[in-house]
């Protein structure tokens, strides 16, 4: 387990954060700028010391103010990928990579130099100096350098925040590959929810120095606290499912969500058996009190209303269970009254297939590296 419980006051800002997360997978620390995400990873790395707190990762206590234990950053074996990469400018890429590796003697190796160079495609960069690298290349080198120090946990502080969209794509696939290849706990700081959707298995939401929601991505995606941060337009349930039929003729893939729910997605690039993550945006969901007929919509999901919560003066937030998976719908109060929606009532949720397609995130399209124990990390395996 990762166990963090820290308190720090700095002028006007107070951080009082407590979260627990499974070791396997990627924990996303998500929140707006200034909510204390970076402060929190600095506390975990030891670069900052809290006034009181306890940090435990994988059975090792890195900090416990109650017993006076506080490991120095250099003794914590915490890999840190900084937003600005922080490559050593007087050293070549290869020397940067070796910096941590040389200081990791006596530690169990999670990855070797040659494999890292291959995995992150660093071979053409090895002789270059950091200042001649692009932003995406710098982050890849920073990632390799942190991992070659053979850390027990990897902290990533908005590694993509200073990159434009195209450069992000130069780094994200490598992060996904690493997640699948390494059995290493990762703590990923981000204020971009699309990155969280692609990488995270566990989500901790921070607001003004406090944890306002935490849990699996699926659970937290249903929390109003998250909606408040990502905004109503980007809020929606995140479901994980498995393709059980991909039909080339209809162009539709059928995906099992929950125990009996079924979503239809566009099939391109999907094979039966593939696991994936789908975000159903709350504003894209239409509720109906009867089975629809004569509509183009491909997803008419039969279920029942779990709860209704008013939002503001005229809106309402409905939580709907479809075969064991829950989705959120944003409706007007007027619609709720007309359809006589109530908790426990029967309902059909309509979602256009095309509006789902853009929110599909494959969980395991990349095969783990050969000759190593396959470590596939997903919320499914954690149960």
């Amino acid at each position: 387990m990762i166990h963090v419980d820290v308190a720090l006051r700095r002028g006007e800002f107070t951080l009082e954060a407590r979260f627990e997360a499974p070791e396997a997978g990627v924990v996303a620390l998500f929140g707006r700028s200034g909510c204390g995400k970076t402060t929190l990873v600095n506390l975990i790395s030891g670069l900052l010391r809290p006034e009181r707190g306890r940090i435990e990762i994988g059975g090792e206590t890195l900090l416990d103010t109650a017993s006076g234990r506080c490991l120095a950053p250099e003794a914590r074996h915490v890999g840190y990928v900084f937003q600005d990469a922080r490559l050593f400018p007087h050293l070549s890429v290869a020397e940067n990579l070796h910096y941590g590796l040389r200081r990791s003697r006596g530690r169990a190796h999670i990855i070797e130099y040659d494999e890292m160079v291959a995995l992150l495609a660093l071979a053409p960069l090895l002789d270059r100096r950091p200042h001649s690298l692009s932003g995406g290349e710098r982050q890849r080198v920073g990632l390799g350098r942190a991992l070659l120090a053979q850390p027990r946990v990897l902290l990533l502080d908005e590694p993509l925040a200073s990159l434009d969209a195209a450069r992000r794509e130069e780094v994200l696939p490598y992060l996904e590959a690493l997640r699948l290849r390494l059995a290493l706990p990762m703590i990923y700081v981000s204020h971009a929810f699309d990155e969280v959707l692609r990488l995270a298995t566990h989500l901790v939401v921070l607001e003004a120095g406090r944890v306002v929601a935490q849990g699996s991505l699926n659970d937290v995606s249903l929390e109003p606290a998250l909606t408040a941060i990502v905004g109503a337009a980007a809020a929606g349930a995140v479901l994980e499912g498995q393709v059980f039929e991909a039909d080339g003729a209809t162009g539709l893939a059928r995906v099992r969500v929950g125990h009996a729910g079924e979503l239809r997605l566009r099939a391109s690039g999907m094979a039966a058996g593939a696991r994936l993550r789908v975000q159903v945006l709350a504003r894209d969901v239409i509720l109906s009190d009867r089975a629809p007929a004569g509509l183009s919509v491909r997803n008419a999901l039969h279920g029942h209303v779990v709860s209704l919560e008013p939002q503001g003066e005229d809106a309402c937030r409905a939580l709907v269970d479809i075969g064991g998976a829950q989705i959120v719908a944003h409706l007007t109060r007027d619609a709720v009254a007309e359809l006589r929606l109530h908790a426990g009532g029967e309902v059909w949720a309509l979602v256009k297939t095309v509006s789902l397609r853009s929110q599909v995130f494959p969980l395991d399209t990349r095969a783990p590296a050969p000759a190593t124990k396959p470590v596939t990390v997903s919320a499914h395996e954690q149960g």
Binding site: S45, A75, Y80, F82, H90, Y99, R103
Partner: protein
């Protein structure tokens, strides 16, 4: 325009004094620069002022103080002579000490600027990669300070070549022992018919100064390019 043997001797002596002076100052200047930039202790401002004293005091005063402290009967000079047989007054070593003291603030200032420019974030990164304090200093901080260390050393070397007041006060003007170029120039001016010699030494000093400036600029550019700052 050929130099006489005495002038060549003065040239050689100047280089020997300046080189010793720079080598002597380097470790102390690095330490003081580090204390002034990174230190959080009472008396930091007092230390800062003390280091800068030679810049604001008349060189003759510095020479006089050195004579009082490091002369054969001075509290430090007496002890050095009794314990180690080291004599500083009226020797080449004493000339090196005098020029080191005079050029010390210049060296510290250059190093300080470069240390202030070192990104603490890089040292933090080294920490998370397992580097302890000395390790970080040797592998990250010191190499990144290198432009300032080089600039400081070159400036101090040039200033040492030209130091006059403190040297002549502390170690006098002894040909072959303490007579560096500016002292030789001074003697030539004082000597009837020494005009040609004075002109030669002045020309030599000018050439050395220009050469030093060019060298330091070239070094600084090279280092900046290596660090990718150019």
């Amino acid at each position: 325009m050929a130099l006489t043997a005495a002038e060549l001797e003065a040239l050689r002596l100047s280089f020997a004094v300046a080189a010793r002076s720079v080598l002597l100052s380097l470790p102390f200047a690095t330490l003081i620069a580090w204390l002034l930039v990174r230190g959080r202790f009472r008396g930091r401002f007092a230390l800062d002022a003390f280091v800068h004293l030679p810049l604001v005091l008349p060189p003759v005063v510095v020479g006089y103080l050195l004579l009082v402290l490091f002369g054969r009967r001075g509290p430090i000079g007496g002890w050095l002579y009794e314990a180690f047989g080291i004599q500083l007054a009226f020797t080449t070593a004493g000339a090196a000490l005098a020029t080191a003291v005079m050029s010390f603030p210049l060296m510290v200032r250059a190093m300080r600027l470069s240390l202030e420019a070192v990104d603490r974030g890089l040292e933090d990164a080294a920490r998370t990669l397992g580097a302890g304090a000395l390790d970080r200093f040797a592998t990250i901080t010191l190499p990144l300070m290198l432009p300032g260390i080089l600039a400081g050393a070159v400036t101090a070397f040039a200033a040492s070549l030209g130091e006059f007041g403190a040297v002549i006060t502390f170690v006098s003007n002894i040909p072959g022992e303490t007579q560096t170029l500016p002292l030789a120039l001074y003697s030539a001016i004082q000597t009837p018919g020494g005009d040609a010699a004075a002109a030669r030494i002045a020309g030599l000093s000018l050439a050395l100064g220009l050469g030093g400036l060019a060298l330091s600029e070239w070094l600084a550019r090279r280092v900046r390019r290596r660090l990718g700052q150019a």
